[in-house]
Symmetry: C2
Subunit: 415 residues, 2 copies
């Protein structure tokens, strides 16, 4: 048993999942399943997939990104263009008893790893493909996002062009939907013996989310979509402010109590009351607070301009207001609240160095599972050939001669 | 059996989940579990939770948002402040045989619905709480996001302040992690009989994501975090462009082939080759394309400025380049590609009207489950009291007299 194997207590303990993947969505899905206890084997072509050297890199050129999205997996490298390599991987997918037979992939269009070919060997196969668009055409997070409507309503109201998100929302959501779909399919297979042919298009994750949150319904039902409202919270009162010493704050007031506390903290009780009377506005109604947000913001902003960040933090603490200081990634990486968060484990990541890595953001009985390291590319090729495919050392030596499998990348250095 | 019950073929068929929730994360988790076949009963206080009238609203004042996030659930309304109401809901959570005993909630701090109180009655309870921050303090998507680092690197490089996202990324990811954690815990309970006490802080979902994608590791390992790079794709070549007729396009080139096609499509083969020689730059390397992105963008932008959106679309189609036109929500809501997408179902939503609603973005055997309507508030109170708690019509009448339960909101109109 490898150290990467699941423990008996973990919810997905025993499952054996093969992942043929690259970039964010499918690797995140596989990593999340591994965090829940599954044995996940990421299969890469010789030299690694197209995400092998994705930025951010360390100064020595190792991919921090790759290390972050492949934690706790085993790595198997094969020549995916050769019939022999394909046959080995197909055997790996369809094998390993009742808890195997699960493929998670975002590389589509290859017949040998398609549902039909693999389900002939293993009718109870669980096969999940992540695709770009619903019609089968290609797409990645940043192109899918362009078509969602969100970039044209992000940013300052007077800004003209699109503003892309930085966090790849659709990849993240797609990866989590994929992990969920596989887990639910496993539950069904364990109850009924039935396999599943599943597909999740990135585009449809984005469209479903835009629909679930009302963005599409609003445009369809009211004839006009969401406007660009800057950093304001749509439909209620939330806004960013700047302190006397130039620190940015975000405040959200969802309930009448939150709003009363904000009015009180900023010393604007009388002027807001006078405004309510003058405008005949009931500020206990969140829509009314939203409609009058600009004048309210102008009233509150003076108090923020007159106080330092520390004074503001002290005044807001203990109120019901939802608030936060904006922090940079640099501040975040050194903030004691973050470095002491039990979500993180210091891991000695080969090639990358020692760094703080996150486990799954799910606490069980009040504790988080420690983060694990990502494998070196091809690190488990021999072990998988031996333990999962039953090959002998002689078989493995012959495979290496034909270059069908590799324990490491001969084309690129893998420190 | 109600029309909201699961079908036998669905992967989470048979499960009975109680959701005490509001806003996005917990309702999305419950809805997603319902889309996979679970019977999900959303419990609300009399009059509805704080998200009852959340924007966007129809012109008649019904919440499109609430309808979007509660599709396919049953609705049970009780006076959650009265001991009698609490006792009924506790019985509902802990009852319904081996497939019941599951609570999903984002309302914390109430002893009667805490793990300890409920697990005394039902040791195999699966109890999942969504909280704001890891230390138990409050937080919502927009405040959590302020502290992640993302708003300070979103938007144009010359912009000074924070730019908030519009799609509540952390709520979405948290809801999907929650649906996954419940499903995995069900699999464990079905195998071992053990329950689970689970918690997911919104803050830790954000921190784990920032870590998984390398944003935190980059700041820690390299001593400096991600810069603000506008709409450029970090570490590779991707950029937005504007056509002669003012249409915005997003293009992404991840591989040397993508980039070659972009150079070819824009008629810049000779000038890009001369540039590569002059700069001693190898544009087959994605990091090199990124470093020289501004000069490359300046070269390509001329071609976009000289062509209409239709000409550009025609020229890019059939190439390997990943590209998309930016669309507004209004364009999205009427685009035939969207309205014909089998992800959507026209549903007659009471109060809201007929509109296009999305099902889960997971196709099974090539088809999507149709979207279902959201319940009216309290619609299933009587049915749940009768079917799930075994009460008689007389019992129900007595409960209504004490106002412990309600079939609908007496405080607000619910059209």
């Amino acid at each position: 048993m490898s150290e990467h194997r699941s423990t008996a207590a973990a919810p997905l303990s025993g499952l054996r999942i093969v992942e043929i993947s690259s970039f964010v969505a499918a690797p995140l899905a596989g990593m999340t399943l591994a965090q829940l206890g599954a044995d996940v084997i990421r299969v890469d072509p010789v030299g690694g997939a197209a995400d092998r050297n994705r930025w951010p890199l360390t100064e020595q050129g190792a991919s921090i990104y790759w290390a972050g999205l492949n934690k706790g997996k085993r790595s198997f490298v094969a020549d995916l263009r050769s019939p022999q390599g394909q046959e080995l991987v197909a055997r790996l997918i369809t094998g390993s008893g009742p808890q195997g037979g699960i493929l998670l992939t975002n590389t589509t269009g290859r017949e040998w790893q398609g549902y039909d070919a693999l389900a002939r060997t293993r009718p109870d196969l669980i096969h999940l493909e992540i695709t770009g668009r619903g019609d089968g055409s290609t797409g990645v997070d940043y192109t899918v996002n362009a078509a969602t409507g969100f970039p044209l309503v992000t940013g300052p109201p007077d800004h003209a062009g699109p503003i892309n998100h930085v966090v790849p929302v659709w990849d993240i959501a797609c990866g989590l939907y994929a992990a969920l779909a596989v887990t639910a399919a496993v539950r069904r297979r364990e109850a009924t013996g039935a396999g599943s042919r599943l597909a999740i298009p990135l585009e449809n994750v984005a469209l479903a989310t835009a629909s679930n949150l009302g963005f599409l319904g609003e445009a369809q039902l009211n004839g006009t979509g969401r406007p660009r409202v800057g950093n304001a919270l749509y439909g209620s009162y939330g806004q960013d402010f700047t302190s006397a010493d130039g620190v940015y704050f975000m405040l959200v007031t969802l309930t009448p109590r939150h709003f009363r506390d904000l009015v009180s903290a900023t010393g604007t009780t009388e002027v807001v009351a006078a405004l309510a009377t003058a405008l005949d506005a009931d500020f206990t109604d969140e829509g009314t607070r939203y409609k009058h947000r600009d004048v309210l913001t102008a009233l509150f902003a003076g108090w923020f301009r007159d106080h330092t960040a520390d004074e503001i933090s002290a005044a807001l603490s203990g109120t019901s207001i939802l608030w936060e200081r904006y922090r940079s990634f640099d501040e975040l990486a050194t903030d004691p609240q973050v470095t002491a968060n039990p979500l993180f484990t210091d891991v000695p990541q080969p090639g990358v160095g020692a760094y703080r890595a996150a486990g799954a953001p799910i606490s069980v009985d009040g504790t988080y599972q420690p983060a694990r390291i990502a494998p070196r590319l091809g690190e488990h090729t021999d072990a998988v050939l031996r333990e999962e495919l039953g090959l002998t050392d002689d078989d493995i030596a012959r495979l290496r001669d034909t270059a069908a499998c590799a324990t490491d990348s001969p084309k690129r250095t893998n420190p």
